[in-house]
């Protein structure tokens, strides 16, 4: 699942992920919508991986991350923060709230594709059933 409110970034990210044979990519363009979706009682098919942008309107990425980690339902889902910010403060906060990884959005998309490969390899192939993630 990709939570990204920038349409351009969303298109490019999906494009890159699809190249790596990612299936069933759910895209949410707002934090609020994503939360509503994830915690809807009818939704049992939870995503294997959440890619979360920090700079979201209304409900920002860190708030969502906190929520994801506080709810039993979503606690185990690996979350990759995908942000254009290189600020130390943002990186530190993200890990503090339980992000599994922090990836800065590169300008060069080739670079991004390489990154996406690493992520999928790690989180979806070698580490399919991760242990309960630690709460911050």
């Amino acid at each position: 699942m990709l939570i990204e409110d920038s349409a351009d970034d969303a298109i490019l990210t999906i494009r890159a992920l699809k190249k790596l044979n990612f299936q069933n990519i759910t895209v949410s363009d707002s934090g609020r919508e994503a939360v509503r979706y994830l915690y809807h009682e009818n939704v049992d098919d939870l995503p294997d991986l959440i890619i979360l942008d920090l700079n979201l309107t209304i409900v920002d990425g860190l708030t969502i991350l906190k929520r994801l980690r506080s709810e039993k339902k979503t606690r185990h889902i690996p979350v990759i923060i995908f942000s254009s910010s290189g600020e130390e403060q943002d990186i530190q906060k993200s890990y503090e709230y339980g992000a599994n990884s922090y990836v800065r959005k590169p300008v060069d998309f080739t670079e991004f594709e390489d990154l996406a490969l690493c992520i999928s390899n790690y989180w979806l192939r070698f580490n399919r059933a991760p242990a309960s993630p630690q709460l911050a």
Partner: protein, 797 residues
């Protein structure tokens, strides 16, 4: 001796009567008239009464045939001054003629004194006087002619012993300062019988007086022993007995009430006490006593003279004696010094009149002296011999005879030092007074009730008040109401503790009503008994200063407010800047990402519809987007370097350079780079900022040596003018020193992007970091010769 022994010539009438002699003395006014005395009746048969009634004179009783002889003898005695003798006859009252021995001599004023005595051997029933005896007349003369007491004693002893047929005689004299008797003269017959005795007494050893002599000396009364006993208490007694002496007589010579000598005579036969003998010896002793007395009194006189002399000479005051006209006859050394005379001679050539500094003094002096006979403690100025003016106190006593001053004696005390000290004191007082009156400070005294007792004139200009009228007012009356309670409390405390105070500020009312700031310092004053009696104060008008101070403090307050306002604005700006850079980093990058991402997607998905040129264009679009991304990142870094809060800790630059160089080698595995890094270069600063700076510099060096086959990069330090300078040197492309000042400007590049890629932000970042550490940075190079970057940083102490 003649000065003092006039009366010795005069025979004692009493003594002559006792010895049966007739004395006569010519009258001072009528030389031919003789006064008769002594045993007049015995010799002439006339009583003194009869002689007076009959108008008998010496000439009337001398036998007429012998008158010319008498005249001749008198003339001889007058002429020679010596005693003369002869035999003349007199007519006695019973008509008989009597041949008598005549002795006469001259006494003072040309008078003649003489005596007449019997030529007949008067063998009385005791047979005591065996021979005619010429004493005491001879003795008197001998005593007179003796040069000293010892000789007189010796002469008397000899004559008396001979003429009274004593066997032996001794004269003992009291030693000075002790009670011991000293054998002064002896008389021994030439007979061998007395050889041992004479030897014993005449030897060098000090002979001890015999018991009788000693007793007589102690008791001061005559002693007679008719039979010398064998119980001897001293050796001398035994010697006397052994020599065959049988009886003895001794008589004390007294002077001033004390025994001063003893005359002792011894006989070779037992002899009872003989009053006649005693009379004679007493007479002699009394005459000797007189000599001793004179000697004593002369000695005393000499001593007293000596005492006065030394008092006169050694006095610290100047002493002088002058004649009636004022010319000096004597003076002491203090006097000579006082008047700066070269010597006593020059002083004695001067006279009192020369010493007066003016005529008025001189006239007063003589007038007063004549009137009162003395001048006491008169203070005046005088002129010394060298012309110097000196101040003296003079005491003079004049001896006045018939209304004229005949002699002056005086004492002078030098008070020049005291006088000049007084004058100096007066001058210093005047100086102080003028100082007080001209001083910029207001000086005043107040009593213990804080009432003014003195005020300098300055109060007029400081407070507009009259310095006279202010006296008696309380200091508190001047104070402003707001200062009054605290000032009262403070001053009462100070009065209580009687302590000094410095620089207390009071606000006072000027007469015009304006407020004057006074800075007052004071010291307690005490009365003669040592009791606190107020304060002496000095105060300064500090109104102007005070106003200035107030103005400054107002300005300071305003300034502080301004600083706070500016700081607030600055903080605001900083926050805005932070927000700006944040949005730059996100918002500017997002479109770039889209440009790059879609360009790539376009290339991938529709690349085959484009020719090579079209694809190359799209590549350029992507490159541009990526370069802009780097630029944005660098810009953010630069702004962060300026904004970030600094820590202060020890930073090991050598370690940073080492680790950074390792990373760089890893990044450029294809290149050969030699790093030479000095160890232990430690500074004080922010570790993360310094790491950024050094990384930038190293990357710079690595970049500009990229065209060298073998890059050499050195990091070290040197001392320049006491500052530690760090340097990073490379053997790279270097730069033209003309543009050295542009090196650290952001976006400024000295090389083409094609040759050495970069944004031109790195060195600007380095400079900002160094500047934030209060350091300096500069670069030295020559094109193609490599570059050296130097910087200073605070070194940890």
């Amino acid at each position: 001796m003649s000065d003092h022994s006039d009366h010795l010539h005069r025979f004692s009438a009493e003594m002559l009567a006792l010895s049966g002699q007739l004395g006569f003395r010519s009258d001072a006014q009528t030389p031919n008239k003789y006064q008769l005395f002594g045993a007049v009746e015995q010799i002439t048969g006339y009583t003194q009464e009869q002689i007076r009634q009959n108008g008998a004179t010496l000439q009337t009783i001398i036998h007429p045939d012998d008158l010319s002889l008498f005249e001749k003898l008198t003339a001889d005695a007058k002429k020679s001054g010596k005693s003369v003798q002869g035999k003349i006859r007199i007519n006695r009252s019973d008509g008989s003629l009597l041949l008598l021995n005549l002795l006469l001599h001259k006494i003072e004023n040309g008078q003649i004194e003489g005596l007449l005595r019997s030529t007949i051997e008067n063998a009385d029933s005791n047979g005591s006087v065996k021979t005619e005896w010429n004493a005491p007349f001879h003795l008197t003369l001998q005593i007179n002619e003796a040069p000293d007491v010892e000789t007189a004693l010796s002469l008397v002893l000899d004559s008396f012993a001979r003429e009274t047929t004593a066997t032996c005689g001794m004269a003992w004299m009291k030693e000075d300062q002790s009670d011991r008797l000293k054998l002064t003269a002896t008389f021994f017959p030439n007979s061998s019988d007395y050889h041992i005795l004479s030897q014993a007494m005449g030897s060098d050893s000090l002979p001890v007086a015999d018991s009788l002599t000693r007793e007589v000396f102690n008791k001061k009364s005559t002693g007679w022993i008719s039979r010398l006993e064998k119980n001897c208490s001293v050796d001398t007694d035994k010697l006397l007995l052994d020599a065959g002496l049988k009886s003895a007589v001794a008589i004390p010579v007294t002077a001033g009430g004390d025994a001063v000598a003893v005359l002792s005579f011894f006989f070779d036969h037992e002899r009872d006490e003989d009053p006649h003998y005693l009379d004679l010896i007493s007479y002699v002793a009394s005459q000797l006593g007189t000599i001793f007395n004179n000697k004593l009194s002369r000695k005393e006189l000499q001593e007293s003279e000596k005492r006065y002399r030394s008092m006169f000479d050694e006095s610290l005051n100047g002493n002088f004696i002058a004649e009636g006209d004022g010319s000096f006859t004597d003076c002491n050394s203090a006097f000579i010094d006082l008047f700066r005379f070269d010597s006593k001679e020059s002083a004695l050539k001067s006279e009192l009149n020369n010493l007066f500094s003016n005529a008025t003094h001189r006239q007063f002096f003589w007038k007063a002296l004549k009137l009162k006979g003395r001048i006491e403690n008169h203070e005046m100025s005088a002129v010394a011999a060298n012309g110097e003016t000196i101040y003296i106190i003079i005491n003079v006593i004049a001896t006045i005879r018939d209304g004229e001053i005949v002699m002056l004696s005086g004492q002078i005390q030098d008070i020049t030092d005291r006088k000049t000290a007084n004058m100096a004191l007066k001058q210093s007082e005047e100086r102080l007074r003028s100082l007080i009156e001209t001083s910029n400070e207001w000086i005043w005294d107040m009593d213990k009730d804080f009432r003014f007792t003195y005020s300098s004139f300055k109060v007029r200009s400081i407070l507009g008040r009259n310095p006279q009228k202010i006296l008696g007012n309380r200091f508190f009356d001047l104070l402003t109401e707001s200062d009054l309670p605290s000032a009262k409390k403070r001053l009462l405390e100070l009065a209580e503790s009687e302590s000094d105070f410095v620089g207390i500020e009071f606000r006072c009312h000027h007469k015009t009503g304006s407020i004057v700031y006074l800075e007052v310092s004071g010291t307690p004053i005490f009365d003669k008994r040592g009791y606190f009696s107020g304060f002496r104060c000095i105060s300064r008008d500090i109104t102007d200063r005070k106003h200035a101070e107030l103005k400054i403090s107002r300005l300071n307050e305003e300034l502080e407010l301004k600083v706070i306002e500016r700081t607030r604005q600055l903080e605001l700006t900083n926050r805005e800047l932070e927000a700006f850079s944040y949005s730059v980093s996100h918002d500017l990058r997002a479109p770039l990402r889209s440009i790059d991402g879609f360009s790539q997607a376009f290339l991938e998905d529709y690349g085959d519809t484009l020719d090579d040129t079209g694809r190359a264009y799209l590549d350029r679009v992507r490159q541009a987007a990526q370069r802009m991304s780097v630029l944005i990142d660098d810009l953010i870094k630069l702004s962060k370097v300026t904004r970030v809060e600094m820590t202060d800790q020890e930073v090991n630059l050598s370690d940073i350079v080492s680790s950074a160089s390792g990373q760089l080698c890893d990044q450029h595995p294809d290149r050969t780079i030699d790093f030479h890094i000095d160890d232990g270069l430690i500074v004080q600063g922010d570790a993360s900022l310094l790491r950024i700076a050094l990384q930038n510099l190293l990357e710079n060096s690595v970049k500009f040596t990229s065209k060298e086959e073998r890059a050499v990069i050195e990091f070290g330090s040197f001392n320049k003018n006491g500052d530690m300078v760090f340097y990073l040197k490379d053997n790279g492309a270097g730069f033209n020193m003309e543009y050295a000042n542009k090196l650290f400007t952001p976006f400024q590049r000295l090389h083409r992007e094609k040759d050495f890629p970069g944004t031109g932000i790195g060195l600007a970042t380095v400079q900002r970091i160094i500047h934030r550490h209060m350091g300096k940075i500069w670069a030295e190079s020559e094109k193609g010769e490599g570059a050296t970057f130097c910087f200073t940083l605070p070194v940890s102490s």
